[in-house]
């Protein structure tokens, strides 16, 4: 079984240090927290640098097009404690914008560009937010649900 961070303590600590920014997110994995989009850089820095959590590396950066919002999902995995945490950010459908965390982990650079390319999520403060897989003149973002698959 996956080893999971004590979410209540974590959320309490984050809210205390960075102002009201995080809450427990209930889903089937029982390892998610929800963070406000404008606070994501601070939260990630805290998760990286706090020796209690020690998430030295970012693993996966995923994005999902739900009917009610866009969700950016960060999967973190500590290589010293082997515990896991999923950080979720819910974004407005009309204006999906979130702070870039490239300044926290360089690994986010290419993954954010991919999320921009395929899902159309804007990462503010990204050093080079351009398409990475599709051609530069491609219209639309294929992983959105309103982009129909054509044979």
């Amino acid at each position: 079984m996956d080893k999971i961070v004590d979410r209540e303590a974590l959320v309490g600590e984050l809210n205390q240090k960075l102002g009201n920014c995080a809450e427990i997110f209930e889903d089937n994995t029982n390892q998610s927290i929800k963070v406000k989009p404008e606070k994501i850089v601070g939260v990630m820095k805290e998760l990286r640098d706090n020796p209690k959590y020690d998430f030295k590396a970012l693993m996966n950066l995923s994005s999902v097009d739900y009917p009610e919002n866009f969700t950016v999902v960060y999967h973190l995995n500590s290589i010293s404690y082997y515990h896991k945490l999923t950080v979720k950010v819910e974004l407005d459908k009309a204006k999906p914008e979130v702070q870039s965390i490239t300044s926290v982990w360089t690994a986010a650079n290419v993954q954010e560009r991919e999320a921009y390319d395929l899902m159309g999520i804007i990462f503010t403060g990204h050093p080079n937010l351009k398409r990475i897989l599709l051609a530069d003149d491609w219209v639309g973002h294929p992983l959105r649900k309103d982009f129909k698959l054509q044979a």
Binding site: D2, K3, D27, N28, T29, K56, A57, L58, M59, N60, S62, S63, V64, D65, V73, H75, N77, I79, Y82, T86, W105, T106, A107, N109, V110, Q111, E114, L118, R131, I132, L133, L134, A135, P142, L143, F147, L149
Partner: protein, 367 residues
């Protein structure tokens, strides 16, 4: 005084040392690189979108097309994520678990021999290429005998594996395992210990421990930088907690370390397969799973130790027969982000070695 100017050089997409259809634009000041820009996407097939239009079972063969040098492990990562989503991780029969481990490690040997081969080819050592491909073919023959396909096995199933193997197959495998240490010694004698090779690759493309974590290295590349982390040992999935094996580490994270770590890893893979074939029980190879796979609403993320690093799948289910979203976390795609950082300031000829040393497969970079 002579007038000089920066030269812009386009490398790829059709270039033997870019391992596929990767293109990079290099700015050169004489022989030295001042700037690198990566261009990927030439092999983009939209697998994540295709997955949304396929049932869970139908998507299994597509995984072989991700990293086409380690098809077995890609499929394993995918089916394990679906099993986690369905909550049937504990129900996989013992024999299937052992077969999964044997196939994964066999595939790791096949994948790492490609690395040895292409690496020596990139530094113009054609003999090493031949030696490594000889052994890779024997591993692929075994995979073909079990699954019917050399490179796109379509062998893993949600709930087990597709086909059982017989005594004859095991005796063939035993022969390979008996020969493999001698072959690895041969690589060591021919390539690793070669003075010209060492002079060429030592102290080139150094990635420190902190840098490796920051740019998202995983698997052998991370271990070459001295980070002691292996999912098989630290967060064992399947039945990996039953096997004893070492995790080889590099010292300073140069291209030489990345090469040596992989040779050592092949020895450990042989070691693991030997333990597995000693313990493998008789029995069924498939759990009782429904004909139509319909995971409950929810999501799952699972990561395994692929030959290139951590390969993960993030699958979101809406309760129907098709996934709502499938995200493929690819180690090659993330690792490739290191190239513009490390190649800056290098010699042009060293950049080729640096790129070869992280073992990229463009099928997985572009998906």
């Amino acid at each position: 005084m002579l007038k000089t100017q920066e030269l812009t050089l386009n490398m790829g997409p059709q270039h033997p040392s870019t391992h596929g259809v990767f293109r990079c634009v290099l700015n050169l000041d004489g022989e030295y690189i001042t700037k690198v820009v990566n261009h990927t996407g030439y092999l983009h097939r939209g697998l994540e979108k295709l997955a949304e239009a396929r049932t869970y079972t139908q998507f299994i063969p597509y995984n072989g097309r991700l990293d086409y040098c380690s098809g077995m492990m890609n499929e394993l990562a995918y089916v394990m994520t679906v099993e986690k989503l369905m909550g049937i991780t504990e129900e996989i029969p013992e024999r299937a678990q052992y077969l999964r481990v044997i196939m994964s490690e066999l595939q790791r040997i096949a994948s790492h021999t490609i690395y040895v081969a292409s690496f020596s080819l990139d530094i113009a050592g054609f003999t090493g290429f031949m030696y490594a491909f000889r052994d890779r073919d024997r591993a692929l023959d075994l995979i073909e005998a079990a699954s019917g396909q050399r490179m796109m096995p379509n062998y893993m199933r949600i709930g087990g594996v597709a086909a059982d193997v017989d005594e004859n197959w095991f005796s063939q495998l035993q022969k390979l395992l008996d020969d493999m240490p001698a072959s690895l010694d041969e690589y060591d004698g021919l390539i690793t210990g070669n003075e010209i090779f060492q002079a060429r690759v030592k102290n080139v493309g150094i990635v420190t421990r902190e840098m490796a974590l920051d740019i998202g290295f995983s698997g052998p590349n991370l271990r070459a930088s001295g980070v002691d982390h292996d999912l098989r040992r630290d967060e064992p999935y399947g039945i990996y907690d039953r096997f004893k094996f070492d995790v080889p580490l590099g010292e300073q994270g140069d291209t030489f370390d990345r090469f040596v770590v992989r040779i050592k890893e092949m020895r450990q893979s042989v070691n693991i397969i030997k333990q597995a074939i000693k313990d493998i029980p008789e029995g069924p190879i498939m759990a009782k799973v429904p004909k139509v796979i319909k995971p409950p609403v929810g999501e799952a993320f699972h990561c395994i130790e692929n030959s290139k690093g951590h390969l993960g799948f993030h699958i979101v289910s809406d309760g129907s027969t098709k996934p709502y979203r499938t995200r493929i976390y690819s180690p090659c795609f993330v690792s490739l982000g290191f190239f513009p950082i490390v190649a800056k300031g290098q010699h042009l000829m060293d950049a080729v070695v640096t790129l070869a040393s992280i073992d990229i497969v463009l099928g997985e970079v572009d998906r």
